[in-house]
């Protein structure tokens, strides 16, 4: 089909819809004006109708109501006419007609469109309701009047109802009898039994009777109604009875909503229609009883947001039925949709409502905004898949992860090249009109994300789009982004994660959130003044004065992407809102080193997302950057200060991003503190939020229960570990986490360290740690040492190391031994605190002299120290530095450290290796680039270990087995080989045997690698044999053994064959 034409048609269609809506609104406005007489309203409708039809210039309308006809002057009947009946209580009382005075091209119904049919029906229905409302109102008013004067009865009403709406009368009678029963009236109970299913204890229904309950005929019930009201009249005052009737009739008008909501088959379209109707009724003064209102809320929450009881328990308190009206107007869904919004959207919507309500009590919460958002419901993706016959892609999650890898680019390609169903296109187009030409972010809002406690964050894509140019370009860009986010469900990372978490079979649907990007245009860029994430629980405390509940904010200039992810080469500003004056970085050196150096922005010209050097941006646009004087500090040699509001030349001088002005001179910290406090209190759970600030307002972008990366969840503390297997315990300043499978312990003995008498040796200890950091398996060793690691100034206070000398450890432990009568302060890793945070290296302080603490010095001092073996140059320091190879000293066991901040407890003990969540070295790498994931090198290392373990040294003449290169250095990817060095001392025949044996391994591992990763490598094992002579001369690969940097790592040989043989 011609693309231009279809677009033209689309735009034409949309214009029509807009006209129709406009018409409907005008009419509803007329109807809500209860002071106008019916005649005027009718004339108003007649005039409002023509502009809503396709050909207004030839369009006329008339209303026939009872005996009156309302029509404009010069109205003439023509053959091109459509009509709709006006009914009240099933009785036709008139009709509304629209006709064209001249012939027009034929459409769905003569010259009329099918939408126009719907419109005229809606108008007729609305009008009918209005008339009914008016009638009842006048009856009531008349009644009240009579009552006052003559004290006559409400019987008149019953009579009226009996004639106009007998069903309503029965419903009201039922309510009255129930009410009377609850008030404890015996007579009423009797009536109730006759009336219908009664819920008293004596009820037949509850006696598990086998007889079907005898329903009564309508006429019986009607006469019973009068009895009921007689009884009521005897016990209640006139006023009471009248008020009840009034209330119930009113409430009954919301019955349509009950019907729609009770029916699980109602589509979103129907719900939306019902809500719309409710919205208008509410404006006309519809009041609901509290239980009914709440049941509506819950039903809507379940249908649109989440069926998690935890969620609706909170949400029902804050989200009102009418709030959905606004929401549903910004929802895009397929015809007959049963979808939901998804976790992210629901969470944000709820948070917004909570804050809105709380703002009445707490002024600092006023003006907290959320960006304009449109939603595609969760079944949109299935609709998209069905529309394009892509059903087979759903099977993707059951495929081998290697295949998922291989096929993912294809999935993305197919999705991006598949058209969207017209109703979605139409919705997106409306959304774009409503947004205008502002940058947007397309975010996933998965149903999996609202499961409490599951951190599914960042697994699916979020895409920024510039949304610039013609409508056509913008629509194309938007659909492209939605398709790409859809495709990300089938990416290897989420699929792998779901397999890991046992969520493979969970029915995954993904909603989409299309959000206006908060920010300002600065030159050719668009970005918020600043953004960040905040946690109500602080898991990375840099001072013992900061408590967990003081919270944590990670702030960055520009888009918040840099705050969400841990970065390897940049740092966000960290603030604990409960203790904003205690900064993670205090000296000028630290402030500079750990300040943000880059900013994420949207380039409106190239329409791309970019990371810029912030200093370059400032030079170009410093003065246009909103709030810049609150974000920067001026650096003048040894002095750092806030810039003056005027006269600061951002083109000259040195600036550091510190957020000093924001923190100390604006209410920002108080604001975020209150938000965290309110939301975590209402959620009854710690929460985390994402936010952005455009320099004027605070925007909440996301809110959810605080999630923990897998490795920083609170770990359960086992209580049954025998003391001799416990290495240490701790009870102060504990954070959360699990550090499993530690193979090496590096322990700097505090006593021995303090006894070192010469400066060079003190320095050397730091250097040894630096070398061990390179040699030991990455993230599988821990560092334990006295006082303050990385201490500058006085070296005696702690081992002098730089961050690069410890950056491969999985944990940094500081030991505070009691000295005479005081225990020294520990550093909390402050010297490289932010590096530790970004790399997720855990920190733990130990106080061995505290009561009830285990500190197993016997283990640390008496286990075999391998330092002299691996760094012979530093053998003289082996009194001070112990390096314990746990598995080889303890029959394959490893060290595990479990930390639990809630209980303020931590324990390290010996145990078998576990598959329980392993420490991920770098979260960001894992999500962005699967090839850098931990799994490749870990798997390769295990392969090498098992080859070594199964190698018969006597049979093959092997003396040693080493692994080096990417496998040892933890950098291996899916296509890396495994570099192995074998110290061979056998005969030529043995050599041949050995190589044949290894070839077998090679073939099988290469194949396994292929099925795991989809990458085909012919020789996974890269074997190098070296002889005694090579080692003596340190020729070729032999130099790798015992090399100071990047040394080959020895593996235990033959352990799987005969444990007794391995005596090292």
């Amino acid at each position: 089909m011609n693309k231009d034409k279809s677009l033209e048609k689309l735009i034409g269609d949309l214009k029509e819809r807009a006209k129709e809506l406009n018409c409907l609104y005008e009419i509803q406005e007329l109807l809500s004006n209860t002071d106008l007489p019916v005649e005027e309203i009718c004339m108003g409708i007649v005039q409002a109708i023509p502009p809503g039809w396709q050909f207004p210039d030839v369009c006329q309308a008339k209303i026939v109501y009872r005996d009156n006809v309302f029509q404009p002057d010069g109205f003439k009947e023509t053959p091109w006419q459509q009509c709709a009946n006006i009914t009240i209580q099933d009785e036709t009382v008139g009709k509304i007609c629209v006709c064209y005075t001249e012939e027009r091209p034929p459409a769905d119904e003569g010259p009329f469109l099918k939408e126009e049919r719907k419109l005229i029906e809606t108008i007729a229905e609305q009008f009918g309701l209005y008339i009914l409302h008016q009638q009842l109102k006048s009856v009531f008013e008349g009644q009240k009047q009579i009552q006052k004067e003559q004290k006559t009865e409400w019987k008149v009403i019953l009579d009226l109802l009996k004639h106009t709406d007998p069903k309503l009368l029965i419903r009201i009678s039922r309510k009255m009898v129930n009410y009377l029963c609850w008030t404890g009236l015996k007579e009423a109970e009797l009536l109730l039994e006759n009336f219908g299913p009664a819920y008293s204890e004596e009820s037949e229904l509850l006696k598990e009777s086998n007889r079907p309950y005898q329903a009564r005929g309508r006429s019986d019930l009607l006469s019973l109604s009068y009895e009921i009201f007689e009884v009521a009249g005897n016990h209640l005052s006139e006023d009471e009875v009248l008020n009840h009737i009034h209330k119930w009739i009113k409430e009954d008008r919301s019955g349509f909503l009950v019907n729609v909501l009770v029916d699980t088959g109602s589509s979103l379209g129907k719900i939306s229609g019902a809500i719309e109707r409710y919205h208008h009724l509410a404006m006309q003064g519809l009041e609901l009883s509290i239980p009914r209102e709440i049941s509506f809320r819950v039903a809507l929450i379940r249908r649109l947001m989440s069926d998690q009881p935890g969620f609706s328990r909170i949400a029902k308190k804050y989200i009102q039925v009418d709030d959905f009206s606004d929401l549903m107007q910004r929802m895009i869904y397929p015809t007959g949709s049963h979808g939901k919004l998804g976790g992210k959207s629901s969470g944000l919507f709820l948070a917004k409502q909570i804050l809105k309500k709380e703002a009445r009590k707490n002024s600092i919460l006023q003006n907290i905004k959320t960006p304009k958002t449109w939603y595609i419901t969760s079944d949109g993706i299935l609709n998209f898949i069905r529309y394009n016959n892509l059903e087979d892609i759903i099977e993707q999650k059951y495929k081998d992860i290697g295949q998922v890898h291989q096929e993912y680019p294809y999935v993305v390609y197919v999705f991006k090249n598949s058209p969207f169903p017209p109703e979605i296109i139409q919705g997106l187009s409306l959304a774009l009109d409503s947004f205008g030409e502002v940058p947007l972010i397309v975010r996933s809002s998965s149903l999996l994300e609202d499961r409490l406690g599951a951190a599914f964050a960042g697994k699916y894509k979020s895409l920024f789009i510039a949304n610039q140019g013609t409508k056509e370009e913008r629509l194309a860009e938007l659909t492209d982004a939605v398709a790409e986010v859809y495709a990300s469900i089938f990416g290897p990372d989420p699929v792998g994660y779901r397999i890991e978490q046992g969520l493979q079979d969970y029915h995954e649907e993904m909603g989409i959130m299309i959000q206006e990007v908060v920010g300002n245009k600065v030159g050719r860029y668009f970005f918020p003044a600043f953004a960040g994430v905040a946690f109500s629980n602080n898991e990375f405390r840099w001072s013992n004065r900061i408590k967990r509940e003081d919270g944590l904010v990670r702030l960055v200039p520009g888009l918040g992407t840099r705050a969400v992810d841990r970065l390897s080469n940049d740092y966000p500003i960290l603030i604990a809102p409960g203790q904003p004056n205690l900064r993670a970085n205090t000296t000028i050196d630290e402030i500079i080193r750990y300040s943000p150096k880059y900013i994420d922005v949207i380039n409106l010209e190239t329409r791309t997302f970019e990371s810029l050097n912030i200093h370059k941006l400032l030079k170009e646009y410093g003065k246009d950057y909103t709030l810049v004087d609150k974000l920067l500090s001026v650096l003048e040699e040894n002095h750092i200060r806030q810039p003056r509001p005027i006269g600061t030349d951002y083109n000259k001088g040195n600036f550091v991003v510190t957020f000093e002005g924001l923190i100390s001179n604006t209410p920002f910290i108080d604001q975020i503190k209150s938000i965290l406090a309110v939301l975590s209190e209402k959620y009854n759970h710690p929460i985390d939020i994402e936010f952005a600030h455009d320099g004027r307002d605070f925007y909440l972008l996301q809110c959810r229960s605080q999630s923990y990366a897998e490795d920083i969840k609170p770990a359960s503390i086992p209580s049954n570990i025998p003391e001799e297997r416990t290495i240490f315990t701790a009870k102060r300043y504990i954070s959360n986490g699990l550090v499993a499978n530690v193979t090496h312990i590096v322990y700097v003995d505090p006593q021995k360290y303090s006894e070192i008498s010469n400066y060079q040796d003190l320095i050397a200890v730091g250097r040894v740690v630096g070398r061990l950091n390179k040699i030991l398996p990455k993230r599988q060793f821990i560092l334990m040492g006295p006082g303050r690691w990385g201490s500058r100034g006085d070296i005696k206070l702690g081992v002098s190391v730089t961050y690069s000398e410890i950056n491969n450890t999985s944990m940094l432990i500081e030991i505070a031994r009691k000295q005479k009568d005081y225990v020294p302060d520990l550093s909390f890793g402050t010297h490289f605190f932010q590096d530790l945070v970004e790399a997720n290296i855990r920190y733990l302080p130990l106080y061995p002299d505290d009561k009830g603490i285990i500190f197993n010095e016997h283990f640390l001092n008496n286990s075999k120290n391998i330092l002299p073996d691996i760094l012979p140059d530093f053998a003289h320091l082996s009194e001070v530095i112990k390096v314990i190879d746990v598995p080889s000293s303890f029959e394959g066991e490893v060290l595990q450290i479990r930390m639990n901040a809630e209980d303020e407890k931590a324990i390290a003990f010996l145990t078998q290796p576990t598959d329980e969540i392993e420490t991920k070295a770098d979260k960001k790498e894992a999500t962005v680039d699967i090839y850098k994931s931990d799994i490749y090198w870990r798997w390769r290392l295990r392969c090498a270990e098992s080859i070594a373990a199964n190698l018969d040294t006597a049979r093959f003449g092997v003396k040693g087995f080493y692994v080096f290169g990417s496998t040892k250095n933890a950098t291996a990817g899916p296509e890396s080989d495994i570099d192995i060095l074998i110290h061979f001392i056998g005969t030529t025949a043995q050599q041949k045997d050995l190589l044949t044996w290894l070839e077998g391994w090679n073939l099988s591992l290469s194949h396994t690698n292929f099925t795991r990763t989809g990458k085909k490598i012919d020789n996974l094992l890269d074997i190098h044999l070296i002889t005694d002579e090579d080692i003596k001369n340190r020729t070729s690969y032999a130099s790798k053994i015992g090399a100071v940097t990047d040394a080959a790592m020895p593996l235990s040989v033959g352990t799987a064959l005969n444990k007794k043989d391995v005596s090292r």
Binding site: W542, S543, A584, T586, E637, E755, S757, N758, G787, D825
Partner: protein
Amino acid sequence: MKATSYNPFETAQKQFDRTADLLQLNQATRDLLRNPIREYHFSIPVRMDNGKTKIFRGFRVQHNDARGPSKGGIRFHPQETIDTVRALAMWMTWKTAVAEIPLGGGKGGVICDPHNLSKNEQEQICRGWVRQIVKNVGPYEDVPAPDVMTSAQHMLWMLDEYETIVGEKRPGFITGKPVGLGGSLGRKEATGYGVMITVREALKELNIEPKNTSASFQGFGNVARYAIELYQQMGGTVVCVSCWDQKDQTSYAYRKKEGIDLQELLSITDPFGGIDKAQAEALGYEVLPGDAWLEQDVDILVPAALENQITQENVNKVSGRVKIIAEGANGPTTDEADQYINERKIFIIPDLLANAGGVTCSYFEQVQSNMNYFWEKDEVLGKLDVKMTSAFISVSDFAKMNNLDMRSAAYVISVDRVAQACQDRGWV
């Protein structure tokens, strides 16, 4: 191994003792100079942000003020030991003496960790420190300066408290103030220029034309940058600089054999001294491992980054062509390496002398503050040149006269000057 732990003060005393032997100082002089002349220990009560009062330990050590008011930094350190402070105060005495500026040596501080303190609490500590010792410090008694974990901001709080108590403006009480509030111009340049002035004088002695020489630098901070600037003005060729790469967590050496372009490199350097590796490569620089700065075939090596950089292990990689090593950093050469360098007859300009430009500029700041007068940068740098040149010549002459290496000469001459002043004053 006897279980005696490393004590920096004892190490400093031993070094002094050897020099005292050489100078045949009498017992009284030894006793006087082995220990600080005065020490103050005091408590500083501080009302913390939470309303509770906490007591901090503060101190000030004045090692010797025979040649003029004590001069030395104030450190904020959580586990400061008095012996470290004593050693550092003694070092300051020698440093001012070798630079021939009329000041003595001191050091002080407060036991605290700024990471556990708010700005307001730090201000209260600074003011509290001054209140406790106001009678024993001042422009003509003892002049503090910034040090570990203290900055210009701390100095301003202290100055303000001091001036409030004494009731008049005395900006000479403290140095390290920002320009515009009693600070001196030329501070940024002073240390680096100072290093290069001594190199220039050393070249003169060796009869080498600067324009025929080449040099390699470790570090690209303020010291190295300004040293390079002056060296290039002298006509020398800088072949290599090394610096830390924050992203890669390692250091790299950037080499261009025909000579680096300082402005070009600065344009691709972040404000914190890191050179952009990719851009440097694009500009035609060879990127070598960080240690390569030391192995270059040049005439002059300038370690201007960290301590303990030239060690037993790498000193043998120093090219045979190297004639001068100028220690821009503090303690960049280990004792073992030092011996080897002496054997190789490489002319070493020791840190005590080479980086004395910094303390000299602090002295200039104090002089300007005391007379409430402000020098232009040229004037500061001109005076710096005069001071550094004469300091170098004195040390060098002294070395030749007494057949000492430069390091020993610098140390001995400074002890000699201080001993002389004590004697002249009739103290010993």
